[in-house]
């Protein structure tokens, strides 16, 4: 019997979840939106440039911090990317109301 690990268990489901996430936060829809990326270093939060383009590896989780300003945090890999996209935030909020 193959040993089972928690991390493998999680990553095994990540691709499907990531695909669902991309449908919400498509790169094309982020074009024009202001972005900033934050990574955590051993000495505290640091600001870094936007990540390299390429296929998403692992889950993407979005947190709409403020619908009115369009501030959305995207958590991918070991980075947090903050975007401001009022249209996208509004669409996501609308989706929670069935619109």
């Amino acid at each position: 019997m193959e040993p089972m690990t928690r991390r493998g268990f999680i990553s095994g489901t990540a691709a499907g979840l990531a695909a669902a996430g991309v449908a919400i936060a498509m790169p094309s829809q982020m074009a024009g939106a202001s972005t900033a990326a934050r990574a955590t270093t051993s000495n505290g939060p640091a600001t870094a440039g936007p990540g390299a383009s390429g296929p998403l590896d692992g889950p993407l989780i979005a947190h709409v911090r403020d619908v009115s300003s369009g501030e959305i945090s995207l958590f991918a890999g070991e980075r947090e990317i903050v975007i401001r996209d009022r249209h996208l935030a509004s669409r996501l909020a609308g989706a929670t109301r069935g619109r």
């Binding site: 095994g12 489901t13 990574a39 955590t40 889950p59 947190h63 958590f75 991918a76 890999g77 070991e78």
Partner: protein
């Protein structure tokens, strides 16, 4: 209690709760420093069938600052993985665990070690096995050998990660009963509770029979110091390093019903940290303790008032009326406790304790465990460390034997004030301040990882 359950949020997350941090020049290998970071505090040894382990979701780290910046110059990161060999059984083990590769051991952990320095991360080792928990004579018949097999010599370091007996000794039961110190409790105000009379008594070691999970690493001194300095001159600024440990979790977690339970992503966010014992526990207000855990030593100036005007120093003359008149008078003056600031936030400059001692890291106020690596291990350690005339002990690093409760209680009560205020005379009661414990009964090892064999679940009352 050094940092066990010291803040409201992290007390609900034991696998990320740093309990104690030790750092000392290895007594049997003087060219090296050993650092031990304990997590998962207050384990009842019989706590099965799901015995204790590190969290696979937590990034554990040991940080070293060596340039006076109170920022990490060298970091060792530890990541754990749990492996279930047979998902069809409820058993932790289905027979005696004779070795770290025993087929009868169902739930195992492995870990990786990564060194981060100069912006570069280097994985030193991976898939290192942890030992099992100490269950009993049937499951873990030769526990010391299992643990010794889990000591790994890797590139540039020796490491161990797994269950150990908690080396910290403290009378939690009395201290958290409104500051009752059993050796002097006949002096306690007792809040005029009718019929209550307290008599001086010996301390009760609340952690004598509990286990923790330790991450221990031993590295050559030059791996930690500025420019690879190998030590030798106590007064050389490169001799002093500042150390702390952190535990962090991913920023975003989504829990799901059904089989795929958890999705995690984003940067690691710090949930717990520990430098000096009891810092967050005693000197930071309850409302700020979890915030303190999220912060970094370089920003500790924001917590300095808790050190320079400690609440406990104000409470002692109230809880023990008449026992601390000199301390009460000093408190009334409103003067800052420069002695505590030096001990806990900047390190002690040369010439304060003696001409030949320093563990100062400059002017940046930061809670770090400061170790002067040029001071050799003491042949006969004094558990009171520097206060007891033994500069190889706390607050110069911290050894497993050090009585940090008595040292810090006495320091707060004023025993170290004359170092910076020659006019101050410590109160007579200071000689008995402490929790009345000496560490007797704490089992330690003479070799790495030094911290003792964990208590067996079979043999230890829960």
């Amino acid at each position: 209690m050094s940092s066990h359950r010291e803040a409201p949020e992290v007390s609900m997350d034991p696998t990320a709760d740093s309990a104690d941090l030790y750092a000392f020049v290895s007594p049997d290998d003087p060219g090296t420093v050993t650092v031990i970071a304990n997590y998962v505090p207050l384990q009842a040894p019989a706590g099965g069938p799901n015995f204790y382990e590190f969290s696979p979701d937590v990034l554990y780290a040991i940080h070293v600052s060596n340039d006076g910046s109170a920022r990490s110059n060298v970091t060792y990161e530890f990541r754990f993985e749990s492996v279930l060999s047979d998902p069809t059984t409820f058993l932790y083990n289905s027979g005696p665990i004779a070795s770290l590769s025993s087929k009868t051991w169902n739930r195992r952990q492995f870990y990786s070690v990564t060194r981060v320095a100069d912006g570069k991360a280097t994985e030193l080792a991976k898939n290192l096995p942890c030992p099992p928990c100490n269950i009993g004579p049937l499951s873990t018949p030769d526990y010391p050998r299992l643990a010794q097999d889990a000591v790994h010599r890797i590139s540039g370091a020796t490491v161990f990660a797994g269950q150990r007996a908690d080396a910290f000794y403290v009378d939690l039961g009395s201290i958290f009963d409104l500051g009752d110190l059993r050796p002097i409790e006949e002096l306690h105000a007792t809040f005029a509770i009718p019929g209550l009379k307290l008599k001086s008594a010996k301390g009760v070691d609340s952690t004598l029979h509990v286990n923790v999970h330790s991450i221990a690493i031993r590295v050559p001194i030059g791996e930690l110091t500025n420019g690879g300095y190998g030590g030798g001159d106590v007064l050389d600024p490169r001799s002093t390093i500042g150390i702390w440990t952190t535990a962090s979790r991913r920023a975003a977690t989504v829990r799901h019903a059904g089989a795929a339970r958890v999705t995690q992503s984003g940067p690691f966010v710090q949930e717990s940290r520990l430098g000096n014992p009891l810092f967050n526990e005693v000197l930071v207000p309850l409302a700020r303790k979890d915030f303190w855990n999220s912060q970094y030593p370089a920003g500790d100036a924001q917590f300095s008032r808790g050190v320079t005007h400690p609440e406990l120093a104000s409470l002692l003359p109230v809880l023990y009326p008449g026992a601390f008149p000199n301390l009460a008078a000093f408190n009334a003056s409103g003067a800052p406790r420069a002695d505590l600031a030096a001990i806990l936030l900047t390190g002690i400059p040369a010439g304060v304790v003696s001409a030949g001692f320093q563990n100062n890291t400059g002017t940046i106020m930061a809670d770090m465990l400061r170790l002067n690596v040029s001071i050799p291990a003491a042949a006969k350690p004094n558990a009171l460390g520097v206060v007891g005339g033994d500069v190889a002990g706390y607050p110069n690093g911290r050894r497993l034997v050090d009585d940090v409760v008595s040292i810090e209680l006495r320091a707060i009560a004023g025993v170290t004030l004359p170092l910076v205020d020659k006019a101050f005379t410590p109160d007579k009661a200071i000689a008995d301040v402490g929790d009345g414990l000496t560490g007797a009964g704490t089992q330690l090892l003479g070799v790495f990882p030094y911290i003792g064999t964990p208590h067996s679940g079979y043999a230890t009352p829960a």
